[in-house]
Amino acid sequence: MASTETTQDVKDARSPGEASDLAGLEAGLDALETVQTRRKPLRQTFTEKILPPVVAIALVLAVWQALISFKVVDDPTKLPSPGAVWEVLRQAWLQGELLGYIWTSVSRGLLGFCFALLIGTPLGLLVARVKVVRAAIGPILTGLQSLPSVAWVPPAVIWLGLNNQMMYAVILLGAVPSIANGLVSGVDQVPPLFLRAGRTLGATGLKGTWHIVLPAALPGYVGGLKQGWAFSWRSLMAAEIIASFPDLGIGLGQLLENGRNASDMAMVFEAILLILTVGIAIDLLIFSPLERWVLRSRGLLVKS
């Protein structure tokens, strides 16, 4: 075998000047190769991000008003005017009912979503990490995603009756598969290199799951959460429309159903508009920022 005495008789061969040379060279390289990023000016954000959707909405309103004004549709029971819908909204606001409708549904939706999160996360982790579990319920979980959650309303009513629990059950059945599947695909996409690097650092077993697998899977998981919220909201609306019952309090789904029963098209439009707005608002206020933050902090979001 090669002799192993140290051959570092040259320890101080390097002069101090040479060492600072290297430091300077390195500092120069670092400066040359580092990309400077800076935030976009507010004005640009406004013209590129905010203005286009506002214009699009204005256009839709204009076409809608034109249909009424030029009497293309001349039947308020089929198509109410934007003004009539606005009036209904205003009245609900003045009577103090508007926020009540929204809160009834949003509180149900968010609470149900939180339950779905508590169930879907460990379930997803189990499916992703345990082969037998994946083989057993993986395909079912994926299949459940394509089942419209309306289908769960009748059995839920029969099992649980007309109450809030029924609503939560429907939300869970709609959102849990999305959340679990998001986590599964997030875990599947974790680069094997991270797992190897983690193992050499001593992150094995539960430590590996906590320090490496879960954070690495976060982008996929957040995507799942986003979809999970959309499914929660849709499921809840289906449940509220089908199983409307006065004692449950009036949510947005019941509002829509009430409008239909009263043949009040303005009220129907009001409800649809609110359902849409709330769904978009929650996504814009909670899930999109969360997703952008996760992607940006990892350099996965190219600023466009």
Binding site: K11, A23, F194
Partner: protein, 263 residues
């Protein structure tokens, strides 16, 4: 400047303490063409504080050997003993993008059981060692390729292993940066007195860095020859002595590769 050494001599080995001792290692994989022998009876010692490069063409199983030493895979035959768990650096930086540069290092410290109060300070020290003072809060994607590999080196050093395994860590870098990092690695190796087992297919890199160059033959990987490199530091990639030994080793390497064309 360089002397060729005979292969391992068993009588001598027992006396020498070692950072890694690889004894009669074989490794085969089940491939599409049946069972394939990748490594064949490899024996190699790395002494404490020694810098050894493993050199070979593709298919010599040098990365496989490194994985075995790192404990990421098990040998089909033979034993490997190391003094504690070795640290490993990859060709890709393998830094975790959800953590800042500093937190990557702190995670290594945490997993080693360093108390929270000391981690921050220790991470700063390590960043300073790789000359990245002030990069603690930088995100991985904000760093250049060379800076990432230096953070990866700092993270590997945070493990305080006696042995650092390096799997072509500079192969993806541009020539200038690579050259600078060679100097940097030499400096850090001499400061920390680590043992290094460095895998590469770049002959000059091997000669520039190592005290001992081990040439592996391909398919299956066997130790073909070893060279002692006594060229004094600081070495430069363009040094005549480095060039001369590189020529000699390259000839040998080409001979090894040519043999495969003949069957």
């Amino acid at each position: 400047m360089a002397t060729t050494l005979a292969k391992a001599d068993d009588g001598q080995r027992t006396e020498v303490s070692h950072a890694a001792r690889i004894e009669h290692i074989s490794k085969s994989f089940d491939g599409p063409a049946g069972r394939q022998l990748v490594l064949d009876d490899i024996s190699l010692d790395v002494a404490p504080g020694e810098f050894v490069t493993l050199l070979g063409a593709s298919g010599c199983g040098k990365s496989t050997l490194l994985n075995l030493v790192a404990g990421l895979d098990r040998p089909s035959a033979g034993t490997i003993t190391t003094d504690g768990r070795p640290a490993l650096m990859f060709q890709e930086h393998a830094l975790f993008p959800w953590l800042t540069a500093g937190k990557n290092i702190e995670l290594a410290l945490k997993l080693r059981g360093v108390p929270k109060s000391e981690r921050r300070e220790r991470a700063e020290e390590l960043l300073e060692l790789v000359r990245l003072k002030g990069a603690h809060r930088k995100r991985v994607h904000e760093l250049s390729g060379g800076m990432r590999q230096r953070v990866a080196l700092a993270r590997a050093l945070a493990q305080e292993s006696k042995l650092l395994l390096m799997d072509e860590p500079f192969a993806a870098l541009d020539a200038i940066t690579r050259d600078v990092l060679h100097d940097e690695l030499t400096r850090i190796w001499r400061e920390t007195r680590l043992s290094v087992l460095f895998v590469t297919h770049n002959v000059r890199e091997a000669v520039r860095l190592a005290q001992r160059v081990v040439l592996l033959s391909s398919r299956p990987g066997r130790i073909a020859r070893e060279w002692r490199v006594d060229i004094p530091h600081p070495r430069r990639i363009e040094d005549t002595a480095v060039a001369e030994l590189s020529v000699e080793i390259t000839e040998e390497l080409r001979g090894e590769i040519r043999r495969h064309g003949q069957h």
